[in-house]
């Protein structure tokens, strides 16, 4: 009885606390699109950034912030790290009604899981502002962006635009050009070229391909690309992330797995890759321990500090597969989009940040200084990635990376099975069988 005297009010209090909460944020009005720039006023602005502290990428953004602060009295820009492991915390802020004014990763028109923020009205539709003439160029702001990236920017459900790309990440095959020249190896344009390059690198005592075993989605980049070539983007995506059909029904899936198994059986991967994390694998590529690495174009900016001065980098699209039923000229890509919160306390200033970030001037500086590939037309390819311009111009299509697997429930099924295959724990046929079981379980089909 005595215990109850304490416990009952305590539990009642807890229940009352649990019942509390809700949305107490006030949505600010979006400015009139026709004259939004005349309404810009200084004030606090919190901007999400992908670059870590102390990196050249952040230095460029700090410069941009200082310029904005100088141009609009009373402006104070806070740059908040909003990449990778910081995302859960940032998204929690969005959910609780305290979003960053400008943020990354909130929208991707090609990925259903990343359209929900726009669909739920949390993001500002940028289309009206993008369609206004830009004072710097006299043309609509929207015209800056390459038509190939529009599908990433646009929400298919309402045709609104909920993000503008600050950079484009292309998935490409990097190779050590110096090593290739030394051993008379041709950059691999086709699968047969790749196998030939593997053989020559191995006979030269170099592990052909750097890969990490401690981050399964990066191992999965190989199966993603092979399936792009042997199955095709739409057909693969339907099975892998939309739960339409079964993986056993399209022979291209097995073909892709068998090709991956062949790489494994021929010892193409970095020695000890199973216990190597991705930073180490990337560093080993630049140290000459491996001849190639399949990675996003961010590799160069990310690893800038460890790339030897005399390192000669080459880049080609993922090799085409002769007789493959998929897309042979497509390149997997992701547009890093910045979105503006509809609840931002200073929407005009947030728009101005996005406009300046995507200006030709800023984009050219980012390409030159940190090797970022721009989605803005008229910006030269980064000189630090020789050949990337040919990859872009030669791409028949830019297809969203990883088929959206990373945001789907199938992630925990697909990539671990691919890792089992690459680690030598099962063959292609067994992998297909286990994938089929897993996908049927996830999609209940």
């Amino acid at each position: 009885m005595k215990t109850m005297r304490f416990l009952v009010p305590l539990v009642a209090g807890c229940l009352a606390l649990a019942a509390c909460g809700g949305d107490d944020s006030a949505e600010s009005a979006a400015p009139d699109a026709a004259n939004w720039q005349t309404t810009i006023k200084g004030g606090p602005l919190e901007v999400g950034v992908l670059s870590a502290k102390g990196t050249p990428g952040l230095a460029i953004l700090e410069q941009l912030a200082k310029k904005l602060e100088a141009d609009y009295a009373g402006t104070k820009v806070t740059l908040t790290f909003a990449n990778t492991d910081a995302r859960p915390g940032i998204e929690q802020r969005w959910r609780s009604g305290d979003p960053l004014d400008v943020d990354y990763g909130m929208f991707d028109g090609t990925n259903e899981a990343l359209r929900v923020w726009a669909d739920d009205g949390k993001l500002l539709d940028l289309r009206p502002y993008l369609e206004q003439n830009d004072p710097d160029t006299g043309k609509p702001w929207l015209d800056r962006f390459s038509p190939t990236v529009r599908k990433f920017m646009e929400n298919p459900s309402d045709k609104g635009i909920y993000g503008v790309p600050s950079e484009l990440s292309l998935h490409v095959l990097f190779y050590n050009a110096k090593l290739f020249t030394q051993h008379g190896i041709q950059p691999p344009r086709t699968w047969d070229d790749l196998l030939a390059a593997n053989a020559k690198l191995k006979s030269a005592g170099v592990d052909p391909i750097a890969v990490t075993g401690l981050f399964e989605p990066y191992i999965g980049m190989w199966s993603d690309h092979l399936w792009l070539r042997t199955v095709g983007y739409d057909a693969a995506r339907a099975v892998l992330t939309e739960g339409k059909g079964h993986i056993t029904e399209n022979p291209g899936f097995l073909k892709g797995l068998e090709m991956l198994q062949r790489l494994r059986d021929e010892g193409a991967f970095l020695k000890g890759f199973e216990g190597t994390d991705f930073t180490a694998a990337q560093a080993q590529f630049f140290q000459g321990d491996a001849g190639m690495i399949l990675m996003g174009s961010w590799l160069v900016s990310e690893m800038a500090d460890v790339i030897p001065a005399d390192f000669e980098l080459g880049v080609v699209p993922f090799p085409s597969v002769s007789g493959g039923a998929g897309d042979q000229g497509a390149v997997m890509a992701a547009a890093q989009l910045v979105s503006v919160a509809k609840e931002s306390g200073n929407i005009p200033l947030a728009l101005e940040w996005a406009r300046r970030l995507t200006s030709v001037e800023t984009q050219a500086q980012r390409a030159k200084d940190i090797g970022e590939v721009s989605a803005v037309t008229g910006v030269s390819s980064p000189p630090g990635i020789p050949g990337i311009d040919k990859v872009i111009s030669g791409a028949e299509a830019l297809q969203p990376r990883d088929f959206g697997i990373m945001q789907s429930a199938a992630k925990d099924v697909i990539y671990p099975e691919i890792a089992r295959l690459v680690f030598g724990k099962q063959d292609a046929q067994q992998t297909l069988k286990r994938l089929d079981e897993g996908l049927r379980r996830v999609y209940r089909n």
Partner: protein, 292 residues
């Protein structure tokens, strides 16, 4: 009259503690149970779905695998921790030369952050650039070299070892306090009766410290079943789920897929399992109290 006055004075003293307990323990617990009956969208809206999340968890092979790994982690880590911690605590109890230095060495890792220790050991375990394999190869024991974190057979023990290496200092301190509490006259009587130090340790010290061991084992179970940071940083649950534990699985469900209700149900089930296991261990290890 005296009792009433006593009661009146107890309440204000208890209030701050009760308030803290309510806000930081009971409220989150009640809220988690509440959330476990809901399904969330990524943007934060939710609907009540009854016990759906619980039935899903029970049918989820990923959760069963994570639970199995959590038990394995607890068992393997416990086997690594207790014999070594007891041995060190006993050695330090012997008033050896340089005792303070050894105490410092044993306790030093505790003050390092989990992230630092995890990254340090990730490097140590690296198959070609790390310290272990090259050392093994250097002394002709190449046959023992492994891809430590990349092999499903060694990844979980490797992470458990790192966890133990990091925290052993605390356990040594707790065990040392237990050794210090042993009555010197009982030990002296044993010595007079001709017992050697090993016999004394085995037949007198260990039985007298049984209650302490029981508490420490329960504490270890509770702590290791909730492990998260070392696994998250060192392996992310891989390779192919061989180190995935409930903490990492819950994190992915909640923060990568916004399945907060489902993750909360996983957490509630884990709490129930931990309470049951702790209760069983408590009962199994319970003996008549020794007063000394």
């Amino acid at each position: 009259m005296h009792r009433v006055a006593q009661r009146r004075i107890i309440i204000p003293f208890l209030l701050p503690a009760l308030l803290l307990l309510g806000v930081f323990f009971l409220y989150p617990l009640v809220r988690t149970v509440d959330i476990s009956f809901t399904e969330w969208s990524r943007t934060g809206s939710y609907t009540y779905v009854g016990i759906d999340n619980y039935t899903r968890v029970i049918d989820d092979p990923g959760y069963r695998n994570a639970l199995k790994n959590a038990f394995l982690f607890t068992l393997v880590g416990g086997c690594m921790l207790f014999p070594v911690a007891i041995a060190i605590a006993w050695a330090l109890h012997q008033r050896i030369h340089g005792e303070r230095f050894f105490r410092f060495v044993v306790f030093a890792p505790v003050v390092l952050s989990v992230a630092v220790v995890a990254l340090l050991w990730k490097f140590v375990y690296h198959p070609t650039l790390g310290l272990i394999n090259p050392a093994l190869e250097g002394v002709g024991l190449d046959v023992l070299a492994r891809t430590w974190l990349g092999d499903p057979a060694t990844a979980l023990p490797a992470v458990a070892f790192t966890t133990v290496w990091h925290g052993i200092g605390i356990w040594v301190v707790l065990l040392s306090a237990g050794f210090e509490r042993l009555p010197p006259d009982v030990l002296e009587a044993g010595r007079i009766d001709g017992a050697g130090e090993w016999r004394l340790f085995r037949s007198v010290m260990l039985p007298m410290m049984r209650d302490l061991f029981r508490i420490l084992v329960v504490l270890w179970i509770v702590q290791s079943m909730q492990a998260f940071a070392f696994v998250f940083i060192m392996t992310g649950g891989g390779p192919f789920g061989s180190t995935d534990i409930v903490g990492t699985l819950m994190y992915r469900e909640a923060f990568e897929r916004s399945e907060f209700g489902y993750a909360a149900a996983m957490g509630v089930i884990l709490v129930v399992i931990m309470l049951a296991v702790a209760q069983i261990v408590n009962k199994v290890m319970k003996r008549d109290e020794l007063h000394y």
